[in-house]
Symmetry: C2
Subunit: 249 residues, 2 copies
């Protein structure tokens, strides 16, 4: 349905046993810098696959993936600005484009819910709350910027359990990077996320913060490459891999 | 040296690769209740070994352990009160006594330090701070009481790492039971621990709480058995097991 253009919405909750991925497509000239940026920042930028230049398939992630058609919606960027949100990029494809697929929190959210933990933003049908932090990423070439984190409110005992569950998934952001006082990582108002929707923090709960796959989009915005393509927020690449295949133990 | 009475002090830092244990010695008539109490409260009371009645060896923990001589210092209890602190209990031994050895936080502290985490009470040569909480244990027969926890102050990122490291050691209290606001588990003043020494909480740190092996001693105090023997605080049984043998993955 996605390939044929019948499904153009976000992919949260679709094929929930399957790994979904953030997508970044860059000209080859920038691809090495970007790969080094990911290698230096594995928690926000866990690379699940990097294609050969011009290759539209991703055999490590699925038998017949075509990156030009298999996302519900794309974002086309020029010099750090979003120009268009097409549902197919076949007409834009070039022989020098390299595709990166990065792990996504949908995988660990599925594991958290299977472990019996409740996620308020999922229950309320909201997007997760995301914030730019004072934690710098490690620069590589033109890529640099702040780490972006996603936040989920939890009781302390659930936060401890969530550390255990998400530690099993280092390829999809892994364990939290912070919990408790938001000011310690440069977040001054939990009620005003930089991306996504605000989610209420109830009495006795602490905010738990995970490195977020929006981090590379923040770096792209600052690097202002001449041309690149990403997925549209929430409209991920659904792969043939199962989340459980990523579990480290 | 312990067996011959030359070492009568606490065992913190001795043979640090080796598992040390809390010891509870009870008349057989109470042993079943106590074992059920431990089974129902595995985080504060992780049973490493339970002897046959009258048996002074613990073959699962070491080749030639003699429980009557191999602790630096014992506590002899009558009706919930400590009567004596001998360094040898050979003269008190009876054919109906059953020995329980419970896991101890020294094992996970060793793992935390090997992982590069700093423990303030260890660096300052203090005993860890311990608190009675509002978390009830599950009763069994005459045994009941509050969970006792130990507290270690940490930066949030270190607390997350500590959850990972201690989760590998379910037989020695495992992951924390709480972190953050002490009032949520009935602790009103961190500066006034119920056992051990107060330890400073520095700016940006959160208190991290683990279930503590003092919990069964609190239950013994309430159950007031006619007679029992425990280790003296900090003067543990050193076993032949290696801490790494307890690691679950």
């Amino acid at each position: 349905m996605i390939r044929s253009g019948q499904w153009t919405a976000h992919t949260s909750g679709l094929a929930s046993d399957h790994v979904q991925g953030n997508v970044v497509i860059l000209p080859q000239a920038l691809a090495n810098d970007f790969l080094r940026y990911c290698q230096r920042n594995p928690k926000p930028c866990p690379v699940l696959a990097a294609s050969e230049p011009g290759q539209t398939g991703l055999p490590g992630l699925g038998e017949d993936i075509n990156i030009c058609t298999d996302l519900p919606r794309y974002r086309v960027w020029r010099k750090g600005e979003v120009l268009d949100e097409p549902t197919n990029i076949t007409a834009l494809w070039r022989a020098d484009l390299v595709t990166f697929v990065l792990g996504c929190s949908f995988s660990f959210e599925h594991a958290l819910m299977q472990a019996g933990l409740r996620l308020r933003h999922v229950e309320q049908g909201k997007n997760v709350a995301m914030y730019r932090t004072s934690i710098p990423t490690h620069a590589a070439g033109v890529f640099h910027g702040p780490m972006v984190v996603s936040m989920r409110p939890m009781l302390a005992a659930d936060a401890i359990r969530a550390v255990q569950v998400t530690s099993r998934f280092p390829n999809v952001h892994g364990a939290p990077v912070h919990l408790g006082d938001p000011a310690l990582i440069g977040i001054n108002d939990l009620g005003a996320p930089d991306y996504g929707d605000a989610v209420e923090l109830k009495s006795g709960e602490i905010p738990v913060f995970w490195a977020c796959g929006v981090t590379p989009q923040a770096a792209l915005r600052q690097a202002q490459p001449e041309f690149c393509i990403t997925h549209a927020p929430g409209a991920m690449l659904i792969t043939d891999l199962l989340n459980q295949q990523l579990a480290s133990f």
